[in-house]
Symmetry: C2
Subunit: 329 residues, 2 copies
């Protein structure tokens, strides 16, 4: 746990420190926790063996995501601040996808001794900025040395009396709807991969996703039968719903659409914008199913239907091409 322990470093040398090895663990922890504002539900924040957080519902929702430098992000493509925001966003999106509201975060940061202290500062600022958008804080964590930079985040949330919206509740006849953007992060990644830095709209979508956080609880209240966030891509994540629910899902291309901006970017790169929309991950959109006839909650738009069967089709056909990302493959 983040411990603001007694420093054994002697006189203050932090002002001149350039790397975290020159600064030391306890002083670095002081530096990234000092002056931060915790949520009212945080009974006990960083500095003890564990944190204590309100769980008013009597249940706690919990999700962990790990992001690794060179695998999930690159500091030549994203600033430490952007990496921090994204690390929090992908995790809070998981809480939202259960129909819960986030209540707190724990952050495990493993980084090499030669990491500039300023990089950790900026990363921490990014973590906090995204968290505070939702009125929550980093209630605890751990900082350790490591050969590679790894950010491990656990997000906690509260269901406010609602049932969790799982992946397994979709039923034939349900409507499939999405809130948030699809394909923008993939377009941004393609642009960066070609060595470009613009258009800013798509590059920014890769760097910092904009999950429709409030749409998750709204979907739960509005009767969603199943929900996921699109971390792996629309087809892959709908595949998770199809498998868990024992149903088939068909996407309607005309309803789905392809944003004009993505078409332009794809045209410039010789890529396929529709492929980005169907398979691009990391936009952290929310995809949910609703019983037919249910008014869709704000921000959701229909893109398909649930049917008997299995798997995910597009306009009734199996999608040709790779549809998701898998680690170590």
């Amino acid at each position: 746990m983040l411990k603001e322990g007694r420093s054994q470093l002697g006189p203050d040398s932090s002002q001149d420190a350039q790397t975290i090895s020159q600064m030391g663990e306890f002083r670095l922890i002081d530096r990234v926790t000092a002056g931060r504002v915790q949520s009212p539900g945080t009974t006990l924040g960083p500095g003890d063996d564990a944190a204590v957080l309100a769980a008013p519902d009597g249940r706690v929702v919990a999700s962990t995501d790990v992001l690794v430098e060179g695998v999930h992000f690159r500091f030549d493509w994203s600033s430490p601040h952007q990496v921090g925001r994204k690390a929090v966003a992908v995790n809070l999106s998981d809480i939202s996808a259960m129909g819960a509201v986030p209540t707190g975060l724990l952050v495990g940061l493993a980084c090499p001794p030669e990491t500039p202290a300023e990089r950790v500062d900026e990363l921490a600022n990014g973590l906090w900025e995204e968290a505070q958008q939702l009125g929550i804080g980093i209630i605890g964590g751990d900082m350790v040395s490591s050969p590679s930079l790894t950010i491990s985040i656990t997000a906690l949330g509260d269901l406010q009396g609602r049932d969790p919206v799982t992946r397994s509740g979709a039923r034939p006849g349900d409507v499939v709807a999405v809130a948030g953007r699809l394909g923008w992060a993939a377009a941004g990644l393609a642009v960066l991969g070609r060595g470009f830095r613009s258009p800013v709209a798509v590059v920014g979508a890769h760097r910092v996703p904009e999950p429709p956080y409030e749409a998750g609880p709204r979907a739960a209240t509005g009767g969603a039968t199943s929900m996921v966030d699109t971390s792996d891509g629309l087809l892959a994540d709908l595949g998770h719903i199809a498998e868990a629910s024992g149903v088939g899902v068909d996407i309607n291309s005309a309803q789905l659409g392809v944003p004009q901006r993505l078409t332009e970017v794809a045209s410039a790169l010789g890529s396929d914008a529709r492929h980005w929309v169907l398979t691009g991950g990391e936009d952290q959109a929310l995809v949910a199913t609703f019983p037919q006839g249910t008014p869709l909650p704000a921000d959701f738009r229909q893109i398909g239907v649930v049917a008997e069967g299995s798997g995910v089709t597009v306009d009734g056909n199996t999608y040709q091409g790779p549809i998701g990302w898998e680690h170590w493959r």
Copy 2:
């Protein structure tokens, strides 16, 4: 989050797989989660965007620890199973040190593609074995590829209506008491560092700590005014209490004692057993303070007193020598 997602791997090839890159993320997750028994409080376990866990107290206690290969453990000194047990033990000990009981774990595992699948299996078995000693399970997590092997664990716990026992409640006149072993893990580390593999008693203490899990809630019920686990070593961790509480702490050498077995090991290595007892970390003993006259709960024994002032002394004197470990230093 651990997602038992649709596999895109085609026909089953797991039987012959040797490395996790040959196996793939989804199949590996299936393999380490299949057949595991969750606690009754686990409303929703691995396989969705987030887990849902009972928090009957209306508050949740949460702690994160990160362990890195080559920094916190070495596979030539400890088996993957032992590393798994230790990773869970150091984390659950933090929950106990708040006076809470553990309710669930989330595990973020980052490892290189060439990691043998068998190693991950054994690690997972170790994680589960230690967790199930306390009747809890791994309710979620994440598995990603990484240049180095990192285990990030978040433990959740329940206070059962008690106040959390923090580091800041020690008052002059309180008695300082310890439950659990001190110096054994440090002795084991010294033995391994010299290239030996025995005595098993101390080497085993380094490999898998035996935290007195039940002593934490017992201390809370018994009136403890402050508590920590000895992850950094007795003097360093008591230093955290002294600073947070604004008091001084004096250790009584005669009460503290030095186990005969550690004296023997130290003698063989030309080391100082008392130094191990005072400064050795990773035994995950619990050190707590109690108002004078309070009957000490089972397993606790007095080792000192709280006084006006600051810092930690031994028989009234400042301890000479390094007293703790700090990352990147």
